[in-house]
Symmetry: C2
Subunit: 289 residues, 2 copies
Amino acid sequence: MFNKVSIIGLGLIGGSIGLALRKANAVKQIAGYDLGRGVSAQASKVGAIDQAYESIVDAVKGSDLVILATPVGAVRSLLQTIAPVLTPGTVVTDVSSTKSQVINWAEEFLPEHAFFVGGHPMAGKEMSGVAVADADLFKDCIYCLTPTSHTPATAVSMVVTLVETLGARLRFLDPAEHDGLVAGISHLPFLAATALMATVADDPTWGDASLLASSGFRDVTRLAAGNPEMYRDICLTNSDAIVRWLDIYVLKLSELRDHIVRHDKHIDESFARTQQQRQQWHASHSSEK
Amino acid sequence: MFNKVSIIGLGLIGGSIGLALRKANAVKQIAGYDLGRGVSAQASKVGAIDQAYESIVDAVKGSDLVILATPVGAVRSLLQTIAPVLTPGTVVTDVSSTKSQVINWAEEFLPEHAFFVGGHPMAGKEMSGVAVADADLFKDCIYCLTPTSHTPATAVSMVVTLVETLGARLRFLDPAEHDGLVAGISHLPFLAATALMATVADDPTWGDASLLASSGFRDVTRLAAGNPEMYRDICLTNSDAIVRWLDIYVLKLSELRDHIVRHDKHIDESFARTQQQRQQWHASHSSEK
């Protein structure tokens, strides 16, 4: 059992971690801190934290585990702020979608007596905020941890306990490998969705077209409703991998364009191949969940 | 009440139309025809048609209304086949996603005593086939009709009755306007989804990445599971409009790429604008349904 866990950033993810820890009765005290006006109070009210702190320094003091549940862009200055006051032995983890950059910051700023283990729960919702937090958000979701060769086993083990308490499925990855993979299956899909939404909604025909748009359009553009600051930070911290994927994507689109311009009757072979890939993924994904 | 309605092509759409007409008790006889082995028998079994015909000529003889519910690529030869045997006054409609080309074929092949009204129900499912047909598939969905200046009012009125019987919301559009709009909100989304799926699944990292792919990926790629022949026919019959949209889409992606390469901290403004467009659309769409 944890003695004190501090959650910095009380949105959907931070709030859901708090609810899950409380539900599992896995911690004596959950300390919470959020910059947003009234957010800590709301997190207390829904039971995601036991105590709301006005000062981040007080919030992390004496903690076993500090969870940085903010957009990745805030992590750098948070690490700088908490570094001088961390109790020896404290483990710090985060939940952001890019890992290499965050690990560099942790190595730069954290003292030798505190340990960082990068984390990334593959969970989310269309909406954000502690109001939609859910103790079961992580159940059966993949939760990546990216320890490095410098990370002590005891620190890793503490974050593994967190992941298991959340009911998530643990996966260890090298930080750079993680960033390359999620750029393809998470960051590129967001960019594809947001570019698609902008393409049709910026057009003068959108007033008429919007009335015809149906469930297929709804699904393919769902990610475009995601948090703009979060995706900005992702783009800023994982740009190389994202650009590499974007270039392959545009190449695929150009190949399809060529088929269409040529009125290629065999374009269905390419669609059928992709259909099969989608069906295979969906079948194995559904059975796992 | 219709006397005889003939449904040619007994997949998800044709089957669902049959079930809805039967449920509403809106027709004396529903005649069905499908090239697929055993499909007509299955359609009879689930109650989507009253009588399965071996011959398309017999299936359409004496009909008030012939509904061509096949992929658009089959419509040309179907119109040629049924043209000589249509009873004077018969109205022919279709359900395919592109309209200008189909209307050209109808004007070329149908006799003067038969009338064509292009139709397009904005409904679908991830799966296809009469086994997943559903009498309520069209409920509250938009159903486009694209009569031309040559279409007699009585013919239009007959198809309007069909649309109302299905419980769908009627929308009249000019055929070329229809094709431009659906290229943006339906055909481009399919191409975006299928290119995205191919991008990640053709990559050597897919084995590892597929395990991390989550609900966002699932939604954005859902359309990639669509019927390859249907989308081939769409690409062949609506290529100009599709290529126009594809070019704008690639341009938007290139703009985003530029922001990312430059590490532009203001990229969130572009995301926020699109987020708002998506939220506005979703809010108005949800309230209509």
